[in-house]
Symmetry: C2
């Protein structure tokens, strides 16, 4: 399918230009941006809700919610009283840097320390489009099975943090936490793997510590 | 993004031609084909394993396993002794009819009653590409949350059957079975919704009955 390949290259070059423009704006305002990626329903929004609660008064968080349709996730975030923009792609299976560039003016970046961008629920294409973010976060729920890091290696190998979610479900599903942790470390030896549950609170302190450390390292850069 | 739209149309027209060619081959051999679509880890392979076990000696099943990488799912199916082809897209987030046309010669269609095609784990793009199948099956695990039919309506509204999977996990997750069943029926009033668990066996008889009825209706057509 040579046509597909040509198109992807053209889109990618254009995407890189928009990503650089997004990064320049973020850096001008000292905003650290993370790009959260996973399957649908892996718990990205729940991780964000947990961080917003735990870091209130310490880090000023804003959120861009990416979804094909609906504003359900933005409504969840808005209830927590933080600035949020819902970005609907109405068909596209991933965010692009151009989309982020288009919504940044809706946020007061001078009043933001951490911008969390929740990508479309998809383990494939989001990994091919940088958004201007400083860090990528790959998430994987234990309900999805132990084989997902093998089957979708690109997303997890390009991340700056990988998070195993919903670990409270382990007694009820077939999931080998140790084996998946090891696989994620093989794919991406430089980055930490967190094992979390927003239901029990397991790993949420570590998740917040990682966010704090990324904001601090941007400030000291 | 007008460029994207133009490309999608061109691909779609080409896809329709290949889908017609696939369908002609299937019909010439009296093979019923289903296209199974869901998020990664929703349990499509497990549903197939359950059907292969239950329908052994009654329906001759063959499988095409679509994955970006790995042959893990084909290995699971092969252990059950049925013909299987692993189709790796190495990047693409959905199968196309052209891919199916390319692998059909690897199967002895004269010895097949039901061809199950497991699409790439993705709730978005697979719904935009028919493969020549007779029926589309949308799956959704209770671990993914109650909002997925709202957030990814196209896939479920284009299906001929929607299946809620892993219902044994309901006591441990936030999922409203009745509300999701109702939403799926709103999106797609003509088609049944099955509530299933391969762990407890719930709904597996109904899943097999649906497969039987589709094969029977092709034969009587």
């Amino acid at each position: 399918m040579p046509v597909d390949i040509v198109v992807m290259k053209a889109v990618s070059e254009e995407n890189e230009r928009h990503a650089a423009a997004v990064r320049a704006q973020l850096d001008a305002h000292g905003v650290l941006a993370i790009n959260m990626m996973s399957s649908p329903g892996s718990g990205k929004t729940a991780l964000l809700e947990a961080a917003i609660g735990a870091l209130r008064g310490e880090l000023r968080i804003a959120v861009v919610e990416g979804d094909v349709f609906t504003a359900l996730d933005a409504e969840r975030i808005q209830r927590l009283g933080v600035p949020v923009v819902q970005l609907n792609t109405e068909g596209s299976c991933h965010l692009t840097a151009h989309m982020i560039e288009a919504v940044l003016p809706r946020l007061d970046l001078e009043s933001v320390d951490l911008l969390a961008i929740e990508n479309i629920g998809n383990l494939i294409c989001p990994a091919a489009y940088v958004l201007g973010e400083h860090c990528r976060v790959g998430c994987l729920s234990v309900a999805e099975g132990s084989d997902k890091a093998d089957k979708y290696p690109r997303l997890f190998s390009l991340s700056h943090l990988n998070v195993i979610t919903k670990v409270d479900l382990v007694p009820h599903v077939d999931f080998d936490v140790k084996a998946v942790e090891e696989k994620l470390r093989q794919l991406n030896p430089e980055v930490p793997v967190l094992v979390t549950s927003v239901r029990t609170g397991e790993g949420i302190d570590a998740w917040c510590d990682w966010l704090r450390s990324q904001v601090a390292s941007l400030r000291s850069a």
